[in-house]
Symmetry: D2
Subunit: 333 residues, 4 copies
């Protein structure tokens, strides 16, 4: 008898990816999945790639999760608390939304608006000591997609005193699934294919999350919408404080992490390499002109950036091997 | 102790997909992979998405496969026989190339040129009786990517007397990985993105293979190169011989096949839905103007069209459950 | 003093392309452009590529076109008649919508529904004698995008007795701009990129238009949505009635047409080659297996398929050289 | 009788774009175009979108340009000088290559290697006073594609004392045509579509060119290869030295430039908006967290980044209106 699992908010892209991963997970039994306007639809009608899954979406109410051991919340920002407070303490929860990520209520207000719901264990196992904290938690706040991609490249460099936390500049490009599944004109294929554009320029909500997890003091973060369905490529630059090779710092930091791969010198991350997987590829060098460190990070925004990370956290929360049901290798080309 | 497996021709796209599938297969142990000009390179340098696999490509010689139970051949057309004849009869072989697919040596000559190497068991388990023949074989010729996508839509319609084999017209579009990994100008991203074009118009080499497997007597087949990395969408039309609903004919034919999904009425196949999986999605209707049957089929050219199919065949050859190590659900969006 | 021109329905993709072409037209002065929900917006806010045009969208009412010599209607199907009947007879009109294309009111009812508005001169100058009829008209119904792409490949073959009108099979793939600019989930970039799918399978509304213009008696037409913003590639097959080379038939038919290019033998059309232009590229051969004629046609659905064609028609209606303000050469890569 | 023009190196993407622009230019008569391995081919066989142009590529020798008034060089880096020195002084030359862009021979050696050919007038008319210098020159070195996109966003901010030249960080993404037309595996459609990756990370050759034209003292520049055929999006960040609105600084600087558009506040550049045109779209703001200026710039790498810019320069050199034969509006969607 496996661990009984439910997904709240299963009609979006992160929810769909969760269903896909759970369908192949050997220990988690997907028993219920819910949605809002799509309640009542077979999963295959909402997510054609899950044709054959044989599950119908229910309504997102606490009742739907009465009989489960684990709930993944993939709800719009601001809606997690209302459901979470109705679930018994014995049910473990991973929230893919942003509601419980920030320790600083003021930062929440400034970037998200609305009331701050609270702070849960931050679900990034590769941070020092965090794997253990997650394993001991019943409530975990999953990382933001841009945040995790940036943090993995930056955190060890600041922690090791190699990169200056006072002047970090990040430009990160994301595939369109990161913008969600709501039908909006600027996300139409006709508008996006063949085009690149920045958005939320100079005021993205992942800034406080990145600062909290890395110790960066000043962060210029620019997100770019890229013509591809999945993937994030983050270019993270910071002043070098030492003469150390930043690649070595990263390689040491992640020597024992199954999902973080620091590439051989000379090879640089490509998002296609991690597509469909839970892996992150990293590389770093020092700019010959400015002397700044340039660290580059590639992730799948629906994998390590959302659903894969959530399953990794849940594995830890249930004492399972961290890689259970997750892919190391991306689907390419 | 698992079944020891080797891959000959592991540097191309089909070879890379084989490595990816084998890395996650619970019964097959990937012990050797070979290449031609890339021999000596770590797998991750050739296939960045397989970073971490910890295998170095050897040279494609018979010696490299001395100690294995199963060999997948992913060599250029015309090169399989030279290696296959050097391998002992006890080693099971699945050839992803075209060399052993056709029973008709003249058709081989006409479409491929060169000497006809022979005929092996045709590796399409969903054809009637074929699953058993494959299970009893030590040599299996995998299907062509366009061929399998077309055959699965067409064969049951002709077999049931629903579609006229005398006038079949197929237009099938493929992602670029179907054209291989050799550096050619017309396959550059700049040339392909934002563009569609036909090629080998009126003379594609999968025609005799489709006719052999379906009983079609006359086949007009036009392949189209599409701006996406993976996937085939085949539109198969034929005169209706009866008033039967072609969807029902397909649904009955594949009621027990785990990888072939006849969609609910009103839903039509999309290639993204099967990307990275071994599944094929099918739908069919009757054209209101011409009365022709239109059957549409979507596959992943590297999955059911190549490496996935090969693993499915190998599973059968070793008495394993057909779905072992394969995905039912595609990676989408 | 130039010819004063207005565009009704300027916020969609066809409307935007009209504005772009008119901005560069040496004889037509764009003086008014209207929209529905976007009325009041500067053109550059609605069509960012037209930043600098210095025009604000008005409301689509007859008053807006009081003072113009020429009106292009780019309205949703069924809305052209209401505006057209309010405009004086002296104002020349090209309707990009479908309302006035069909001579057969029953066919209109069957494929479009609603009342048939009437029949205007069919705006395809390359049809025999049609250039003169357009020049003599004050009301012209522009062609459908799939229709013109198919008709140009098929009409001369049927007219010359080379292709059998009784069994025509067409599969045509279009970029997403052909599906319009309304925000719909299935047109999101995340859903379309990396994917191909058929739609309106077996019942597309351009069927009667193609039959009317070509004399085809039976037509199986399947449209495919392709992951690119612009372009249509049509594969048109029909039984050969003679031993003639179909390429020659096409080359003779279009020897004097500036926008229709029959490619050299061995070269096949690519949609990128005509992107942004008013040109159509054609090629044809005979299938070696079935003996069917395969004619392939590439157009820009917003160019020759909509706005470019409309300008070409208007040029003729005003006695201007047909190519005025239009591009022969596409923007590639 | 127009101005007689030749293009050396017409088989690549920049060369093809030059031919396309010249075919529509009212004053320049394209009389000769040359290539290396493609010499002898009709233009339409090399550039299918130029089918109908009726020109055959000659060999790239000085003889080919004997009788022309203006030559565009679109040769590989390092090959311009050999041809240029053989052409009479009376022939005006615009070099699209990098050979004559840098004043600093050491910087040339460091980034390009080989002997420094010399320094020509820098062909960026929007720099203060540069329009006049170009008009007075017979030899002009066209800008690099990344360089012009970055310089237009950065130069006025440094010149006005608004941005700190000591700590400039640029991340710029380019479509694949910027990488040229040579057949290389990493530029295959299969490798690029659905993927983003950095390259030449920390050591791109446009760094000295950007510094020379803007006065930047320290420049971290990271180029990204994006899955689209054309377009560059540059994100340029620098410390703010004043409280000025950087958008205003840009708007003032380009108030009279026909091709540079500073967008309305709230709108951000998209590459599709300038595709096929000679325009650049700009916007700027101040990051709320770091206080850094973020300026974003979009260009067409083959337009303002190469061929369009070259024609603009040539227009000036011949006393023509700067916009002759060039497009203000991009082809979108």
């Amino acid at each position: 008898m496996g661990i009984r699992v439910g997904v709240a908010g299963a009609s979006g892209y992160a929810g769909g990816e969760l269903l896909r991963l759970l369908a192949g997970h050997p220990e988690f039994d997907l028993v219920t999945a819910t949605a809002h306007s799509q309640a009542g639809s077979p999963v295959g009608a909402v997510h054609p790639h899950l044709t054959g899954l044989g599950l119908t979406l229910g309504s997102t109410t606490a009742d739907a999760f009465e009989d489960v051991d684990l709930v993944f919340l993939a709800l719009p920002h601001g809606q997690s608390a209302a459901l979470a407070t109705q679930l018994p303490e014995t049910v473990k929860i991973v929230d893919i939304g942003a509601d419980f990520r920030l320790a600083d209520g003021d930062a929440w207000q400034r970037y998200y608006g609305g009331e701050h719901a609270g702070t849960w264990t931050y679900g990034l196992p590769e941070l020092p000591g965090q794997r253990e904290r997650i394993a001991a938690s019943t409530r975990v706040a999953n990382t933001g997609c841009y945040a995790v991609t940036t943090i993995l490249a930056l955190a060890p460099l600041i922690a090791a005193g190699v990169a200056d936390p006072e002047d970090v500049v990040v430009v990160a490009s994301s595939g369109t699934s990161g913008a969600g599944r709501a039908a909006k004109t600027h996300l139409l294929a006709s508008e996006v294919m063949g085009s690149l554009s920045t958005y939320k320029t100079g005021r993205h909500q992942h800034v406080p999350e990145i600062k909290q997890a890395t110790g960066a003091k000043s962060l210029s973060f620019t997100p770019v919408l890229a013509p591809m369905p999945r993937g994030i490529l983050a270019t993270v630059t910071a002043k070098a404080l030492t003469g150390d090779d930043p690649r070595e710092t990263l390689a040491e930091a992640y020597a024992n992490d199954p999902f973080v791969h620091v590439l051989e010198t000379g090879r640089w991350p490509q998002t296609a390499s991690v597509s469909g997987s839970n892996s992150v590829h990293l590389q770093a060098t020092v700019d010959v002109d400015s002397g700044r460190i340039i660290a580059v990070s590639a992730s799948d925004n629906l994998g390590k950036g959302a659903a894969g990370q959530a399953v990794q956290n849940a594995n830890l929360m249930f004492g399972l091997p961290e890689t259970t049901g997750l892919q190391i290798y991306g689907v390419a080309p």
